[in-house]
């Protein structure tokens, strides 16, 4: 087994709000091989983005990482000083954001913004950084990069801006790329292009990629492994094939059923999971999903399910699994 490039263990990120303790991420664990694509899926508010921000330690008060470990190679990220962390961000771990329209500084040219990281992390001079930035723009498919270097963000379309942001994220050839719903703000035709570019870039850099999404189609085409989150907790974690072909958790099963397929029968209503997700502010004991779960047991009211290993590399947090094991 290859040494993982990133290991997250028992990560808990809580927000101390006036209404109570929001357990945005509550006990997430996973590891990432150096060239692996991990997709984190889940509904809005399930803690996907907070997990990503926690890895880069971008959590601002009232949020705090209260427990857990995040290791990059053998470096404990949570033990680093802020100064040391700044050297990791953008250099070893690159991040791509959801909204390309607002993720670029409107008052500087895109070239200057890409050069910034190169000069900061790789100590390049102005000239060298500029040439490298032009190359990067070229490599992410921006036509006439030499001329467009001097353009401002508002001269670009959404898809082009996302390309610029990808160029900025890969400028220092990071070991890990984190893309937080990189295509949500784009229209469908552009989405496919950007995903293809991400996949290309990931292969070219030979880096690991954490892709946060709620599009299961994207997951199927890009992921090596999948982490399904619900209300800040991990519900299922495993190989992409396993998750799609043998989902075990009732929530994952529900998700898979709700996917629109080409062979869907006309007139048959699309499956949906009843109810709305629990907002984990001072969550009651027991399973967060039980109120929406068809198969809920008595024990689901009182005990929080632990992760069970149902097969090699396949974890499921559900009491049903223990039942199945016991019988």
């Amino acid at each position: 087994m290859v040494e993982p490039i990133l290991t997250v263990e028992g990560l808990k990120t809580h927000f101390n709000l006036r209404e109570g303790m929001l357990k945005a991420v509550d006990g997430i664990s996973f590891s990432l091989a150096p060239d692996e694509v991990l997709c984190i899926v889940g509904e809005s508010g399930s803690g996907k983005s907070v997990t990503a921000q926690s890895i880069l330690r971008l959590i601002d008060p009232p949020g705090h990482i209260v427990e857990g470990q995040i290791r990059y190679g053998d470096i404990d990220l949570l033990a680093l000083s802020e100064r040391e962390m700044e050297k990791i961000r953008g250099d070893r771990i690159g991040m791509i954001f959801q909204d390309p329209m607002t993720s670029l500084n409107p008052v500087f040219t895109i070239g200057e913004q890409i050069s910034e990281g190169l000069r900061e992390h790789l100590d390049m001079g102005k000239t060298e950084a500029r040439e490298q930035a032009v190359e990067l723009l070229h490599s992410v498919g921006i036509p006439h990069p030499e001329a467009r270097y001097q353009d401002y963000p508002h001269h670009f379309s959404g898809g082009m801006r996302q390309r610029v942001l990808i160029a900025a994220a890969i400028a220092c050839q990071p070991d890990i790329l984190i893309a937080d719903e990189p295509t949500t703000a784009l229209d469908v035709t552009i989405q496919a292009q950007i995903l293809k570019l991400l996949a290309d870039v990931q292969r070219r850099l030979n880096s690991a990629l954490i892709l946060i999404t709620h599009d299961l189609g994207v997951v199927a085409s890009m992921a090596d492994r999948v982490l399904v989150m619900y209300a800040g907790e991990m519900v299922e974690y495993g190989d992409v094939k396993t998750i799609f072909e043998q989902p075990k958790h009732p929530y994952t099963i529900g998700l898979m059923k709700s996917v629109v397929r080409l062979d869907n029968q006309r007139g048959v209503q699309l499956h949906s999971i009843p109810g709305t997700p629990l907002v984990p502010i001072n969550p009651p004991p027991g399973c967060a999903f039980r109120s929406r779960c068809d198969a809920a047991l008595g024990v689901c009211e009182t005990d929080r399910p632990r992760a069970h290993s149902v097969a090699e590399d396949h974890l499921v947090s559900c009491h049903l699994m223990r039942q199945a094991e016991a019988s």
Binding site: R92, G94, F97, N105, E116, S139, Q173
Partner: protein, 312 residues
């Protein structure tokens, strides 16, 4: 860790580094010139802003040249009392003391501009520092600074300026100091709000995720995005501060007679408002026009400072 060589294809091969460095420097120069030119186009597209700028340039020129171009001494009588424009060769007539109104308007411009621009510049600089640090640092520092600002803010601007000017010896510097203090809370609050607004923009988080330090974020992200609105607001306030300064002089707390000041001139003319309205009207109209000009300039600045409005 993976090796850095994997993107080898991205490395550039520059045959002649010195030459390309020179080429790039020249290109940067050109880029800055182009930005300036586009900013000017964006500004000049607004006719009111362009007109206001030309008008103010003339006023500034006249004020600077007042000793040379004034036909009479602004402090000495040049003719009969409150004569109509045109009599005795006085183009705008004379005031209640028989002084030439035109010459007094020329000289009064110096004080009006100083009183309008001086406090606004001081208050803006102080506000930028206060608002930026309070907004960016947040926490108890923000609380303390902003509560102090709120206390000052609670007093009406003119009233506060009157109180401050009242305890000091009257004069130009008193007016500037008084207005600076009274004005600061207004701009400081805007500076802080703008900082808070910019701070939570996704591009700031993106910058942090790219490893930018606090100083880099302040200098490259917060400041360039917060200065334009603050500057536009301040510019429009210059005109208002001139009026406030005139008001202080009107009340006798600012500029002392016989020194020429537009506000004092209006004050002196009110006694003969019915018989010789021009004594009040001329300085009054000038005050309004100059104050309006600063407003228009503020609007034009907003267009010039925003890259989105600078079309190619």
């Amino acid at each position: 860790m993976t090796d850095r060589q994997s993107l080898d294809s991205l490395e550039t091969h520059s045959p002649d580094n010195a030459a390309s460095a020179w080429r790039i420097r020249r290109e940067r120069m050109r880029f800055h010139l182009r930005t300036l030119r586009l900013a000017w186009y964006a500004y000049a597209k607004d006719n009111a802003a362009l007109g206001a700028l030309i008008f103010l340039a003339i006023i500034v020129l006249i004020s600077l040249l007042a000793p040379v171009i004034s036909p009479y001494d602004p402090a000495e009588a040049a003719g009969d009392i409150a004569t109509a424009p045109g009599t005795d060769g006085l183009i705008l007539g004379s005031d209640v003391d028989g002084r030439d109104i035109l010459s007094r308007l020329f000289w009064g411009g110096r004080i009006a501009l100083l009183v309008g621009i001086g406090p606004t510049v001081v208050a803006t600089l102080v506000s930028l520092i206060l608002g930026l640090s309070a907004g960016y640092l947040g926490g108890w520092f923000d609380q303390i600074v902003m509560r102090i600002v709120d206390v000052v803010f609670a007093f009406p601007l003119v009233l506060l300026a009157i109180v401050i000017a009242g305890v000091l010896d009257p004069g130009v510097w008193t007016v500037i100091l008084a207005i600076s203090i009274a004005l600061t809370p207004y701009i400081a609050r805007l500076a802080r709000t703008t900082t808070l607004n910019v701070k939570q923009q996704p591009y700031v988080e993106a910058a942090r995720s790219g490893g930018a330090r606090d100083l880099a974020i302040i200098v490259r992200y917060i400041l360039p995005n917060m200065i334009p609105p603050v500057l536009v607001f301040s510019t429009t306030l210059i005109g208002l501060m001139m009026v406030v300064g005139s008001g202080l002089s009107f009340l006798g707390l600012g500029i002392q007679p016989p020194e020429a000041d537009w506000g004092t001139m209006v004050a002196e003319g009110r006694g003969v408002l019915r018989k010789a309205p021009h004594v009040t009207i001329f300085p009054g109209v000038v005050i309004v026009l100059v104050a309006l000009s600063f407003n228009f300039i503020g609007d034009g600045l907003r267009d010039a400072l925003d890259p989105r409005r600078r079309s190619r």
